[in-house]
């Protein structure tokens, strides 16, 4: 499993976790490079279909991170997001998606160390799950042999 480098799609809130990632970089805190970051204005903007789409297209893990409850730039965006996450988390786990593939976290823009630790943890967890083979679209069958 050690060779496996997972692809992880990360959805970060612009006002906190994205800043934390920046700060971690500026502070020279090492963290694994397995993330493709999508910057959101707020975790409230996260439509569950973004997460499905990431998995569907072959992401091995998804990480969603935003502001601590009470700290939302838009006052209540992450409170609403939290309710969505509760449902989504339960739904995906119920249909057999390993909960270790999907991480939600609250990281403020000052918490570079938490970001670093979390990033490492997310990658470790996803690595332990192995490649996403069940909850993704099958590789397109191009039938290349047929067209020669």
């Amino acid at each position: 499993m050690s060779d496996f480098e997972p692809k992880i799609v990360a959805f970060f809130c612009n006002w906190c976790t994205y800043g934390a990632a920046d700060l971690a970089g500026v502070s020279r805190l090492d963290y694994p490079p397995n993330f493709r970051v999508v910057r959101l204005p707020c975790t409230g903007r996260l439509n569950p279909k973004f997460i499905m789409e990431a998995f569907k297209r072959g992401a091995d893990g998804v990480w969603v991170s935003g502001c601590h409850p009470g700290d939302c730039h838009y006052i209540a965006g992450n409170y609403h997001a939290r309710r969505k996450f509760i449902l989504l988390h339960q739904l995906l786990e119920s249909v057999g998606v390993d909960p270790n593939r999907l991480r939600f976290s609250w990281i403020s823009s000052a918490e570079a160390n938490k970001f670093q630790a979390m990033a490492k943890d997310v990658v470790e967890n996803v690595k332990a799950c192995g490649p996403n083979t069940t909850f993704r679209k099958e590789e397109l069958n191009l039938g290349l042999a047929e067209v020669a």
């Binding site: 590789e139 397109l140 069958n141 191009l142 039938g143």
Partner: protein
């Protein structure tokens, strides 16, 4: 046009011969699980009403890959679509009902129309021999006779089989069918009168007396403009179940799917019940509400197709849409309403 008979004790050998060198597909399973499937010759059954879905997917699968390209732009044919071929293989379909065979013959005129031939359809239909099984016990929602067909209908078939006590009667209808049946060791017999008698009984059992002839004589625009369509469509959910189950619904969408390695162009069943079906890039939609979409479906079946196919109706009376519609929109009632359209003064 020769009749044959296969005695009950010779049936196993007959089906074995049908299956030799080709796929033998027959209806398998019961109720909503009944569908055409590859069947070992000793497991062919004649005990079924009809397949749950129409057999159109045999020639026109719900998803069909048409062509593919590989994303190698530096190579000569690297970024260019290449056909994936028709995927046809030699096949005998035994036990398709006459209504569904008629559906295939109607769609065949669309897929092989006056200007273009669809190679994917043609590749499959050319390699398929259709042996139908006549209906001696029509189900309550059957109305093929009222739509111009018959439980012993021959359209779209290469041969028609029918139950003759425990034996199997056969009537060959094309050279392809004759070759197959003869090779399978069926014995010639004179059954023409017998068929006539059985057919009359079966039509009688269907008991549908409705006459849809007036639709043929009414003007297209009169039918189209009649005010009943608003009420006819009012309870429609626009779900499209009717179109997915219909043996003559042949509309499809062409979609590209791509990854880094390349892409595939495929076609998927589509439905005229969806607003997306006709919407223009500008947002203009020629059929914006369910009234227009419902009207399109019934006009297509009962007027447009007959106009294009020498009066043959686009509905074969298989009854699937009647049975499956969640809100009981019954094409027989709609057709009846259409017959009552008032012609405009000339």
């Amino acid at each position: 046009m020769t009749e044959y008979i296969v005695k009950q004790n010779a049936l196993a050998d007959f089906f074995k011969s049908l299956a030799s060198g080709r796929r033998l597909l027959t209806p398998r399973g019961t109720g909503d699980k009944c569908k055409l499937g590859e069947t070992p010759p000793d497991q062919v059954t004649l005990e079924y009403t009809n397949t749950h879905l129409s057999p159109k997917s045999l020639l026109f699968p719900q998803t069909e890959r048409l062509m593919a390209f590989h994303n190698e732009r530096d190579k000569p044919n690297g970024y260019v679509y290449q056909s994936l071929g028709d995927n046809g293989e030699p096949t005998v379909v035994f036990g398709i009902r006459p209504c569904d065979a008629r559906g295939i013959s109607i769609s065949n005129k669309v897929f092989q129309n006056d200007r273009f031939t669809d190679p994917y359809w043609k590749g499959k239909i050319d390699q398929t021999v259709f042996v139908g099984l006549a209906c001696d016990a029509p189900s309550p929602q059957c109305f093929c006779a009222a739509m111009g067909g018959s439980p012993f209908g021959e359209s779209g078939l290469d041969a028609l089989a029918f139950r003759q006590g425990g034996d199997l009667g056969l009537k060959t209808l094309t050279d392809k069918g004759a070759e197959l049946i003869k090779a399978a060791g069926a014995q010639e017999a004179n059954l023409a009168d017998e068929i006539k008698k059985l057919e009359a009984t079966a039509i009688e059992a269907q008991g549908v007396k409705a006459d849809y002839k007036p639709i043929d004589d009414l003007d297209l625009m009169d039918l189209f403009k009649d005010p009943h369509w608003v009420a006819t469509a009012e309870n429609c959910l626009n779900c499209g179940v009717c179109t997915f189950f219909c043996p003559t619904c042949h509309c499809f969408d062409i979609q590209d799917e791509a990854s880094e390695r390349g892409g595939v162009r495929m076609r998927n069943w589509d439905t005229c019940m969806s607003w997306l079906f006709t919407v223009h890039g500008t947002g203009h939609n020629p059929r914006p509400t369910k009234t227009e979409r419902v009207r399109q479906r019934f006009m297509h079946k009962l007027k447009y197709i007959p106009l294009k196919q020498d009066g043959v109706r686009g509905c074969t009376g298989c009854g699937r849409c009647v049975a499956m519609c969640p809100v009981n929109i019954d094409i027989r009632s709609v057709a009846l309403k259409m017959t009552q359209t008032a012609p405009s003064p000339a």
